[in-house]
Amino acid sequence: MILRSVVVGVSVLSMALAGSRWLRVAQREHYLVDAVSRFALRWWTAGPVNLAGLVLAVAGLVLCAHWPGFAFATLAVVAVGPVGLSLRGRTAPLAWTRRLRTLALVWATLEVGALTGGTVAGEGPLTAAATALAVPALVDLACWLTAPVERRLARAHVARAAARLRRVAPTVVAITGSFGKTSTKGYVAHLVGDSKTVVASPASFNNRAGLARAVNEQLADATEVFVAEMGTYGRGEISELCSWIRPDIAVITAVGPVHLERFGSEARVLEAKAEILEGVSCAVLVVDDDRLAALAQQCAARGTRVWRVSAHDEHADVCVIDDGGVLRVWVRGEVMASELSLDARPGNVAAAVAVALELAVPPATIVARLSTLPASPHRLEKARGTGGVVVLDDTYNSNPAGSRAALATLARLGEDARRRVVVTPGMVELGAVQSEENARFAAEAVAVATDLVVVGRTNRRALMRGAHSAPAGAGPSRVVVVRTRPEATTWVRDHLETGDVVLYENDLPDHYP
């Protein structure tokens, strides 16, 4: 009897520790209903130690039905594991927002309810072990239960934002795309900012709640142009955003295999992005992608003014050609600017120039502003690190096309360097093609770099496979495996010297294994 009580008591402690871990994951994954369970599975199967822990925990659960003492095995594992997922978090600690407090309360009620029920039914230890092991699932359940309430609360903010937009009545530029939307938004704000009062939504504010907040807090009365970045995880989301943001000008920068875990296929990504074009008076499309070229055709057919922009075709409405880091801008077949020394993706620059022209910014102003285009932080940003090492920071990128562009820049800048290093944890949220895309990236990386530093476990297997599949004679590449980003930077500091170039490609927050 005493043993049974102790088991239940210890289980509360164990659940509290597990709770703080998995609640943080829920927060980092935007409270999506199945996210915590998916991450739990990913973590418990990452590496032999965690796998052994999982086996031990399940064994304890099975055995404690007859021998209550075995529950301690499960509780101990749940309290300390999975190894690598820290309690507080390094990249983003748990923030006790109102939403998280609500979620934690609902989750704790579920845990206590189950535990009480089980104890009353005489199965205290078994219930204790089961509910402790099921913390991720119960956090997901709590997310599902609180979702309707959260939607209701969000609705009030959205209504306020919609009213504010109607009152201020700026010209609204909406930008979406699988990648490049944040950079393009920054370029638009920069090119237009000298001539009009511009407010751009902050980078991390690209969903319904974030854009409502940006409007409510940032859209001052005299705003003439509002640049809204719109992200999407599924069909209907951008339509919903456009129903109250009502863009005048829509931009699609690119379509690629991003968030495939949630979308399923690239065709569905395209459909979701194309929602931004409904009802706008002007569309800006990067037509180097055939699917976007087809969309341009459709837009033109239904009477929308279309800017076809390109990174290759000088006869597009706006074309920006990158000649080894030197950009040349063409507008309707005529050179508008040349000799621009910029590390910027030409397609994004072209889209921004088109938007500026559509907003009637004088061409001379555009040309002047182009020369001071800001580098987007962490998006292929070049800096000189300690000890004269050239650092290419592309830690915000997480898509195959962007990775390829970054490798090209590494090859160019590191042409004469003794060492060219790629540090990466690989890319995530690519669904069925994640393993394949990471392997391909690693193969391309070792063809360019002298060293490849693989960070963490999430994509380790795929990256290693890719690195070793590179054709013989591609170069004497070395592959180094480290557990965390700080370990990788230490390695870089210890091994690189003046003139060497290191590319940090993508960074995963520490709730990824």
């Binding site: 923030a95 927002t97 504010r164 000298d194 001539s195 009009k196 009062t197 902050p202 991390s204 504010f205 907040r213 940006a214 409007v215 409510n216 807090e217 940032q218 859209l219 001052a220 009365d221 003439e224 910014v361 004088p362 102003t365």
Partner: protein, 386 residues
Amino acid sequence: MNVTSAKVAVAFGGPSPEHDVSILTGLQAARALSGAQRDVMGLYWTKTGDWYRVDASLEATDFVDGVPRGAQVLQLVTGGEGAGFVAGAGRLGRTRPLPVDAVVNCCHGGPGEDGTLQGALDLVGVPYTGPGMAAAALGMDKLAFAGLVQAAGLPTLPRALLDPGLHGRLGGGSPTRTDAIGFPAPYILKPRFGGSSIGVEVVADLDTALARLDVNPHLRAGAVIEPYREDLFDLNIAALTWPQLELSAVERPLRSTAAAEILGYADKYAGGEGMASAPRELPADLAPPLVARLRDAARAVLRLTDARGMARIDFLSDGESLFVNEVNTVPGSLARYLWVDPPIPFIDILDTLIGEALARPAARHSAAGADGSILRNAGGIAGKLA
């Protein structure tokens, strides 16, 4: 009311181009007050005009994404029993105003410095630091201010309204037509209403100036034009108006690059601590007679504008001549860094400002004279309309 026991609210932010630097000033003031164990709270005014109560110990980075975590939404209610900063709006039966004895106004530019906020607080009946509504409005109108100092016989550069209609009235012609303005090029172009160097431009001729009106959004609400003289440098002095008028040392701000033609916004604020960290010569190395003339002119400006609290008066000089340029009625960092001789701790400056706010409120509206005699003798309204 004792200064040290007063419940103080530090207001900062606001729908202004200087929203961000105002946050720096506000957080400095809040930190100094809480460091002296005063009863202090932060009042954050968003770019869209909403009010939030925030912790006095926040850092600037907490405001990067907008309203910081844990902020409590407030409403500014004027008139009646419930007037003030009201918390808990929406929760039934709990709409009492926060107890605030004085507002320390750290809002630069826009409605925090142009009289709007001052007028609202006058209606609420909460005392506040800094200028009253009329002085604030005057200080923010570069054209009206120039007219006032000129009329009083103080030395200023000529300053004229640059109105977009000028182009049409002049017709086509050579860009050297100066008679329309009254002084020759090059020119310096400034927003008529604005508290900082944001939007200020140097132009070579009148046509360029007129062209800039169309494209520079800061000039849209009105622009003034004055001669640009490369030989002039800035000289600033601060004034505390209570209990008696005190003047600070004279500062000569230094421009960060030779190419920068005017002291830019980046020069002033890029250091991260606001004006307090900008490069300067302090006290400026000037001939004593010039300093004496400057101090006299500063006193005259304060009398004319009725500025209150802490003001900074900016001059231009070539080392001999002196020109009044503008008055900042809510200066960056509340001009605390200018008080070097003798040094005055920031908390003492804040105490002085709060003491003045409590002792002599900026506005006391009066209805004396409206004694009803007009109403009694008025007769019917319909008769007046006939």
